[in-house]
């Protein structure tokens, strides 16, 4: 059982132009083995929220708990995958995957067993000795996922991991992630601005609105799994998408009219 919960987290940045409230009292709880997607327009604070959950950013106030225990920084119980390619370029694919286990001084054979299994699952067995520069974008992100899983984390935190991929690769990566999730059954928090992606992947979609970053609505995705590409055409998918879009656009419009009304 591994859950991650955020309670009353606020984040204020001090910038040259004054204080910016990036996140305003966000609370959420992602239950065990649950796939949660956090959607919002750019600048709504969703990435900051994920970094706070990862322990990379200290919130101005509020707490994050994993299995009820408060976190005070990054840890191996939370694996992260970012949008930018973060493989270590000087390490081969296998060494990248084994980075976490090596830090723990795990025995070589055991490390090898873990990386063999993960590379197999990711369809990268033939690339174990390749350097990251030899991989395509989609493959790089699969290695990054394998590297995060090698630590056997309780929670996976993913920040637009497929954002830099082209549409076709991205669709393949989404189906692939679903399979991986079904095998590993990890708790996942997945940040994206792609509504289709969020509905296709998530058990729940959390919508956020910017300035200040607030949690708007929690939408359970009641589309049964396994989901296929056909879901994109179903009426239910369309309804959900429309609803989420409205939540985000409505907020945008309000922002516009406020600006227009200002003297």
């Amino acid at each position: 059982m591994s859950s991650i919960s955020v309670s009353d987290v606020s984040m204020v940045f001090e910038t040259r132009r004054g204080r910016v409230q990036a996140i305003d009292r966000v609370s959420l709880e992602i239950p065990d083995a649950h796939f949660a997607c956090i959607v919002g327009a750019s600048g709504c604070g969703k990435s900051t929220l994920l970094n706070i959950m990862g322990g990379l950013v200290r919130p101005t106030s509020g707490t994050v708990r994993v299995d009820g225990r408060q976190i005070h920084g990054p840890g191996t119980d939370r694996g992260m995958v970012f949008q930018s390619y973060t493989l270590f370029p000087w390490l081969r694919v296998r060494e990248n995957v084994e980075f976490g286990p090596r830090l723990k001084r795990m025995a070589k054979e055991e490390r090898r067993r873990i990386s063999d299994r993960l590379l197999q699952e990711m369809g990268l067995a033939d690339f174990a000795r390749a350097y990251p520069k030899e991989l395509s974008g989609g493959m790089k992100q699969r290695v990054a996922i394998a590297r995060a899983l090698a630590n056997d984390p309780k929670v996976l935190l993913m920040d637009e991991p497929f954002g830099a991929l082209d549409a076709l690769t991205r669709a393949a990566a989404q189906r692939f992630l679903t399979q991986i999730w079904e095998q590993h059954r990890r708790t996942i928090a997945f940040v994206t601005h792609d509504i289709d992606e969020a509905i296709f992947l998530g058990d729940t979609v959390y919508t956020m609105t910017p300035r200040p970053g607030r949690l708007r609505e929690v939408i359970p995705v009641d589309i049964p799994r396994p989901r296929t590409l056909d879901e994109f055409g179903t009426p239910r998918f369309g309804e959900l998408k429309r609803h989420i879009l409205e939540l985000i656009i409505e907020h945008e419009n309000r922002g516009v009219s406020q600006t227009a009304a200002a003297p």
Partner: protein, 247 residues
């Protein structure tokens, strides 16, 4: 370039271009003359000894600069405390031209090897350290963050991420730095020396032997190209994973 040189030297086009009368072999000896005197210098005048003396000074001066500058630069780029302490000092000294130190260095170290090496050190160490600090400070934050999320301690992040991520940039800047070493060496040898390429240039100029001056300058150019090739080969050898290396 050699083509233009040959054209100007053999045809006497220079006055028409408003340049000094370079047709006169005294001002601009032809490529053939220079090649001949380069051969003579190596065959009869012990020029190889001077080349070796210069190369040795460069080697020592540069090695000492790199041996201190690389660790210090990486420490400045990686640790705030080190940066706060050293960077202002180094940034200030960097603006003081190394050649201005020569008289002082002669008083401190005499006119022999130590002084030459000290000039190179002052000329190379300070800017090299700052460039390397920039390399380490510029390592993408994402790489550091991901290492933390994978369970690395600060110390492990330094050894397993910051250091390996810095090496290619360090080598790049060493390649730039050794170029400065040549500049300062020749300056030091022009002021006071009994051997070395700069010394040869200076004595040739006393006897108005322009062909020898040009031959010596070309020798420096060739040595520079060789050093550059060496660094490129090292890069290829050490960093096969770099996007810049194809094989």
């Amino acid at each position: 370039m050699i083509g233009i040189w040959a054209l100007v030297a053999y045809t006497g086009a220079a006055p028409a271009l408003g340049l000094p009368n370079l047709h006169n072999p005294f001002f601009l000896p032809s490529p053939g003359t220079v090649a001949k005197s380069l051969y003579n210098m190596f065959a009869h005048e012990g020029f190889a000894h001077d080349v070796w003396a210069s190369t040795r000074r460069i080697g020592l001066g540069f090695l000492i600069s790199a041996a201190i500058g690389i660790p210090l630069g990486i420490a400045i780029g990686s640790f705030r405390i080190v940066q706060a302490f050293f960077e202002p000092i180094i940034a200030a000294v960097r603006y003081m031209p190394a050649s201005a130190f020569i008289p002082l260095l002669i008083i401190w170290f005499g006119i022999y090897e130590k002084e030459k090496i000290a000039v190179i050190f002052i000329g190379v160490f300070f800017p090299l350290t700052l460039l390397i600090a920039d390399v380490s400070a510029g390592i993408p934050k994402e790489l550091v963050n991901i290492a933390y999320t994978l369970g690395a301690s600060r110390w492990q992040v330094f050894w397993r991420v910051l250091l390996p991520a810095s090496w290619p940039g360090v080598l790049d800047n060493m390649r730039i730095g050794i170029g400065w070493a040549w500049t300062y060496l020749i300056v030091a040898e022009l002021v006071a020396a009994s051997s070395g390429i700069g010394h040869v240039i200076l004595s040739a100029s006393r006897f108005l032997q322009t062909d020898k001056i040009i031959a010596a300058i070309i020798t420096i150019g060739i040595l520079g190209l060789l050093t550059d090739a060496l660094f490129r080969w090292l890069y290829w050898l050490l960093f096969p994973y770099s996007e810049r290396v194809s094989r």
